[in-house]
């Protein structure tokens, strides 16, 4: 592997100083003079018909500037998910900004714009809405039954999507098995708990054009969906890329309500309109979809799979939105293809209920799948007394194998064996005790989980945008400006793009700036999601830097009277390859390229050449060539208090093949942050709702619990296996989501090892542990 200057070294994050001094560029801090403030009146009922809305009293309140009711909103039904076209055939078009039917408690009914937030809030209290309550259903399996309340006419039995895959001969497969294992694994609703709320400021021009600032994960997705929601051409919307946002994790991957409503109110008033969610509103705006997995697996005595039958039921809540894609990703990459099994069938159901709408969340269907499959794998090993590491290796793919999903692609970098063996060694897996054999009230246990197949983007998925683009421009002072629509969620896209450009152009990282971008001026980029930014946006930005370098060499060739093909860039100097005496600082070339055509010097006017003139700039817009799979395995030690059921995580080892690590500190940050979210998912997080009124019972951090620094184990060790992905930028591929796919399954397996009893429903609360131990 060639040596690198910047890649693989932890450059100082360019956004770090700004953030620790208050982060003034977070969208939540964006304001415009004279802007109005929007508040939303939400339905108190989970299912109802709106009979009438009286806003007259609210409109009389001093300071109220406009009120928006369902009949003023374009009747456009669309898919609000950013990464697919609004009318994607593989998705469901059931979403609308305001409707006269409410299907979940908290659905927006009326929006108000006023001169202050307080006045807008007071106005809500003056609005009179008459509802006719309708029967409700909160359990997806109940919702699928004949006679259940129907949420959407087009979807009998409330089934929004029902995909399936199959291969082999199921009957023969199960006949071939020496043992058959069956289990049901359930997961809950969890919120990404991004720190910055959903927030936006929408402004309209006199010609009806909208400019919008928002905390979201996809500039071009917002442009498209906002245009659809408002029923105006796409070019009438300009989305300004936020310099950075305060977290997204998939929770800001669809348009939701505020942008559309604020834009409509801006058009109505001619004023900028700002909207910001309260934490309570955020909690009912996006969630990981709960999935119930029925899993049946046939195995030979030696642990070889013979057949697997999977049924997954996903509760998408009131609208399908992400639910119709999450089920597919869960099926394909969460359960079906990661493991080698000759006979398999999977069927998924995305089911409407009167619950809140689901959203994207880091891992997108895979944590639910991994929890089911890896829990059962553990049961299989336990029952058949098989070595759990060898069992995994027997049933997974190997480096060089054909990619199990993408025809014509290979698992070119795929160090699953190293991940498992190095992780096991680090935690001391061979010394772990038999399940439940620890003495005393507090019992320690070790467990692990691996997820053998994941993505670096969306190549191969139907209907999903995947291309990226960037423009790189060199300045006379030797700095580079990078225009990219790739949003930094806090996960380090700024550093990554900076490192890629610095590396390619032989600059130090502090000479590269990621600059202003909006949808008017930047090339398209798909969202920051699907573990894709490094692979896809990184590659496109590298390609743009290569174009820039070509342009630099073209100018240099003229200045240096050399052949452009013979030139190389080293240490900020352009030189003829192998001839160091020929070196010219690149700043000289850039200065010449940008200088007046005739330069007046001491000897009088001297013309420069036409060939060297012009800004040193390069643009690329391209789809990534493949979709290489990262691998991640997590080994965990826990201690379970068998009198209270409380679980403490003592130690975490994460070993992964992410290809070349671009920024080691950020990579470790991803592992640690991913574990924190995974540990919350495993042990405590749960968005809960009153099963009669549909009201959220955990709408703040007093009731919705996430691990704080105090619960986190002091020791999270990351092992990045030496690996190089041939198609990736400098050998990199992806890592973010995997860090959150494996923890819940690994913790569940560690808890099993500690107490000898398995819990198959997340979160594994102390109460469930005590019940499982027969002490309650």
């Amino acid at each position: 592997m060639s040596t690198t200057n910047v890649i693989g070294k932890s450059i100082t994050r360019p956004d770090a100083y700004d953030k620790v001094t208050g982060g003034k560029k977070y969208p939540v801090n964006y304001t415009l003079p004279g802007m109005l403030h929007m508040k939303i009146l939400r339905s108190p009922y989970p299912h109802a018909k709106i009979l009438s809305i009286d806003t007259s009293e609210a409109e009389k309140l001093k300071g109220v500037r406009a009120v928006l009711t369902p009949d003023e909103v374009p009747k456009k039904y669309f898919t609000p998910v950013y990464f697919v076209p609004y009318n994607a055939p593989s998705m469901v078009q059931d979403f609308i900004l305001l409707s006269d039917t409410v299907r979940w408690a908290g659905q927006p009914v009326v929006a108000v714009a006023a001169s202050s937030e307080d006045i807008a809030e007071q106005a809500l209290e003056l609005i009179d809405v008459e509802y006719e309550e309708l029967p409700t259903v909160f359990d997806p399996e109940e919702a699928m039954k004949d006679g259940a309340p129907q949420l959407h006419e087009a979807s009998p039995n409330n089934i929004a999507k029902n995909p399936s895959f199959e291969f082999g001969d199921m009957e023969a497969g199960f006949e071939d098995a020496d043992h058959i294992f069956e289990g049901v694994y359930e997961t809950q609703r969890a919120h990404t708990c991004y720190m910055e709320p959903r927030v936006c400021v929408a402004d309209s021009d006199t010609d009806g054009r909208i400019t919008i600032h928002s905390s979201m994960q996809h500039t071009f997705g917002l442009r498209e969906k906002l245009a659809v929601a408002l029923d105006i051409p796409e070019s009438m919307v300009n989305v300004v890329k936020p310099t950075y946002i305060g977290g997204g994790f998939g929770g800001k991957l669809d348009i939701g309500f505020i942008e559309g409503l604020a834009a409509l109110l801006s058009l109505k008033t001619g004023k900028p309109v700002r909207a910001e969610h309260s934490r309570g509103e955020d909690f009912i705006s996006t969630t990981r979809n709960p999935i119930k997995v029925y899993l049946k697996t046939g195995v030979k005595k030696d642990g070889t799979y013979t057949a697997r039958q999977i049924k997954s039921i996903l509760d998408c809540g009131a609208h399908a939105t992400h639910g119709s894609e999450v089920i597919m990703v869960h099926g394909l990459y969460g359960t079906f293809f990661p493991w080698k099994c000759p006979n398999q069938i999977w069927e998924g159901f995305t089911v409407y209920t009167n619950n809140m709408i689901g959203g994207g969340y880091r891992g997108y269907g895979a944590p639910q799948g991994c929890f089911a499959v890896e829990s059962q794998n553990d049961e299989i090993c336990e029952t058949l007394d098989l070595d759990p590491i060898e069992f995994r290796l027997k049933n997974t793919h190997r480096e060089g194998d054909p990619h199990p999903v993408l025809e014509g692609h290979k698992l070119a970098s795929y160090k699953i064996e190293e991940c498992l063996r190095q992780g096991a060694e680090r935690i001391g897996f061979d010394k772990r005790q038999a399940a439940g054999s620890a003495e005393g009230v507090k019992k320690k246990g070790i467990g692990f989980a691996v997820h053998p197949l994941w993505v670096s983007g969306c190549v191969g998925f139907p209907d999903i945008y995947e291309h990226s683009g960037a423009t790189v421009k060199l300045n006379r002072d030797g700095t580079a400006d990078v225009i990219s629509a790739c949003v930094d969620l806090g996960s380090g896209q700024i550093s990554m793009l900076t490192a890629v450009v610095a590396e390619e152009l032989s600059l130090s990282a502090d000479k590269v700036r990621i600059v202003y971008a909006d949808t008017d001026t930047a090339p398209f980029d798909a969202p920051t999601h699907a573990s894709r930014a490094t692979y896809s946006a990184g590659l496109a930005t590298k390609a743009a830097a290569v174009e820039t370098k070509k342009r630099l060499f073209k100018a240099a060739a003229a200045v240096m009277e050399a052949n452009a093909d013979d030139l190389v860039l080293e240490d900020g100097k352009v030189m003829v390859k192998g001839v160091p005496e020929s070196a010219v600082p690149m700043t000289d070339i850039i200065a010449r390229a940008e200088s007046p055509f005739i330069q007046v010097g001491e000897q009088g006017p001297a013309p420069t050449t036409i060939a060297e003139k012009g800004t040193i700039i390069g643009t690329a817009s391209q789809a990534p060539p493949s979709n290489p799979s990262p691998v991640g395995a997590q080994f965990i030690e826990v201690e379970v208090d068998t009198d209270t059921g409380e679980i403490e995580v003592l130690r975490v080892v994460y070993s992964a093949d992410v290809g070349q690590v671009i920024h080691p500190n950020s990579a470790e940050g991803q592992v640690e942050g991913g574990f924190q979210q995974g540990m919350g998912y495993a042990l405590m997080e749960n968005l809960q709702f009153d099963q009669e009124t549909g009201a959220c019972l955990s709408a703040d951090f007093l009731d919705y619990k996430i691990p704080t620094a105090m619960e986190m184990p002091s020791n999270i060790e990351s092992i990045f296996i030496d690996s190089h992905e041939p198609t990736g930028p400098y050998g990199g591929k992806s890592m973010s989501e995997m860090c959150l796919i494996v923890p819940a399954a690994a913790i569940a397996n560690a808890v099993y090892n500690a107490i000898g009893v398995r819990i198959t429903e997340l979160p594994i609360t102390p109460e469930k542990v005590l019940k499982a131990l027969g002490k309650l």
């Binding site: 209270t644 019972l697 703040d700 619990k705 309650l776």
Partner: protein
Amino acid sequence: MALTSVQSFYSPEDSKAVIELLDKHEDSALIVAGGTFLHGLVSRGLLSGIEALINIQKLGLNKIDISSDAINIGATTLLGQLKNCPEVKEQAWLGAIKDAMEYPPTQIMNSGTVGGSISSSCPFFDFPVSLLALDGNVQAEGSSGSRDIPLEEFFAGLFENSLGSNEFVTGVRIPVPAGSTTSAFIKMETNANDLAIINVAVCLSMSGTGDCEQARVFLGGGVGESPVRSPSAESALVGTKVDEEAIEKAGEAVLNDLDPLSDHRASAEYRKAMGKVLLKRALASAMQRLS
């Protein structure tokens, strides 16, 4: 959501002024100390019609006075100050307070006050339960003068207490027990920013021969509208050496006095079971402290 109705913010410098303001604004006035719980009350819609906020941080009540017969803690003493008080750190009889101060997160320790913790009258807090075990009194001041209210009589239901309309809390007073006394506190929480699912405080006074002469057992968290006392557990302890057997019996006995609630955080059944486990652990820890 905000306290939109607030018109005035006062920072009086003596109690008299506080009382006058309380009189003037009646139900629409609210005392603010650290402000840490106010926020929660507001965001849950539990406060409305508040027009005046009275900041009591300038009354000079943030001090701890220690005499031979009592510890007096001023109302605006920060929880963090209490934690760092040498007596609290070292004396076995104050163990329950020392333990209770281990739980609140740093931000709360640095801004929440002793008076606020008590006045909130919230059964889910920790300090009040430890103070109940130590038989603490609330010191209140109002237009008719000052008075001491035994903490057990102070709480009158969820967010309710026995303060008169123009009374406020100036401090708490803990009598120094005679002889050999020890105490301990344990809380069950989901994360470090949590209010108690259930918590337990015990205080044991032991004779020279190692017999338990007096026991006080209190439980908080989701046990009711106010913290509850367990006379059954107490009588199972008095007269014993608080050995393993007595502790086991007290653990069984506490169940007689517990009728906790079921909510989205825990079932009543679980809270009961934990009442027993935590009580046994608290008793063992108190005894450990004595040795």
